[in-house]
């Protein structure tokens, strides 16, 4: 896949990871103590423990890794510094060269075809002569 599509995919992946991270944390976070008047809410221990405290770390490390990958891809972009004008100038140069080579190719092709026709004509004459020479032997 070309690099710009890869960059676009990477941006979408970062977006995906970002809202997954925030959404998962929002869904799975244990209830928080709102005011010093009310007692601590009962801790819900079925999902907690090792699973929950590692999830933010895993997800955030995945997010940062995706962002670093994006940076690597950006560095690998093959952008020349000339900009649009330099590219268009190069295109016109290449077109002119292409036309010149095309004309020379056409010339060579025509010359080769002419020679081919001459050789074919000579071959025809030679074979006719051979056949004419052979005739008195057969009859």
């Amino acid at each position: 896949m070309d690099i710009i599509s890869q960059l676009q995919e990477q941006v979408n992946l970062i977006a995906h990871l970002a809202f997954n991270t925030v959404g998962t944390l929002q869904r799975d976070a244990p209830p928080n103590r709102l005011s010093p008047n009310y007692p601590e809410p009962p801790a819900h221990t079925t999902e907690d423990g090792t699973n929950f405290s590692e999830q933010p770390k895993l997800m955030s490390s995945a997010l940062v890794k995706a962002a670093k990958q994006f940076d690597v891809l950006v560095t690998a972009l093959p952008i020349s510094e000339g900009g649009e004008e330099a590219q268009i100038k190069r295109i016109t140069e290449l077109q002119a060269e292409n036309d010149a080579i095309g004309q020379e190719l056409q010339k060579q092709l025509e010359a080769a075809e002419k020679e081919l026709n001459e050789v074919q004509e000579l071959f025809r004459q030679a074979s006719d002569n051979c056949l004419n020479l052979k005739k008195p032997d057969d009859s």
């Binding site: 070309d2 710009i4 960059l7 676009q8 941006v11 970062i14 977006a15 970002a18 991270t21 925030v22 944390l25 929002q26 997010l63 940062v64 962002a67 994006f70 940076d71 950006v74 560095t75 972009l77 093959p78 952008i79 020349s80 900009g83 649009e84 590219q87 268009i88 190069r90 295109i91 290449l94 077109q95 060269e97 292409n98 080579i101 095309g102 020379e104 190719l105 060579q108 092709l109 010359a111 080769a112 020679e115 050789v119």
Partner: protein, 168 residues
Amino acid sequence: MATATYPPPPPFYRLYKDYKQDPKSAPEPPPPIEGTYVCFGGTYTTSDVLPSLEEQGVRQLYSKGPNVDFKMELKSLNGELQLHVLELADILIERPSQYARRVEEISTVFKNLHHLLNSLRPHQARATLIHILELQIQRRKQAVEDIKRRREEARRLLNESLATLDGH
């Protein structure tokens, strides 16, 4: 006519009855359309340019100007995005009711990123064109060399055969 389930073909075909005998008796094809046109109820435009961010109502975060340094802007936008995600996490801890503005800023950064990437596409198209032209020039040069070589070889064979026949 436009809303029938199986509409008949347009009746223009009758005008081309004598086209084979007299090509001038039938009307010319219509000229190409310019500007906007309506097709199956939808409006389309003939010029395909990427609409700028202001036209889409999105704030533009990277610097404007004739030549944008794409790599630098992309990297800085990436850093800004990470910062905004951190800010969102912080504000969800402290003042959770004010998440909306942070989310809007994150989406603005994403829109800017995608717009930058889309504006790289014309550059990519021109680079592809340059590459194709170079390949074509190389192929043509190769063909010219091949033809020259074959002509030389044919001429040499003819001379050899001439020498052989003369010797005979």
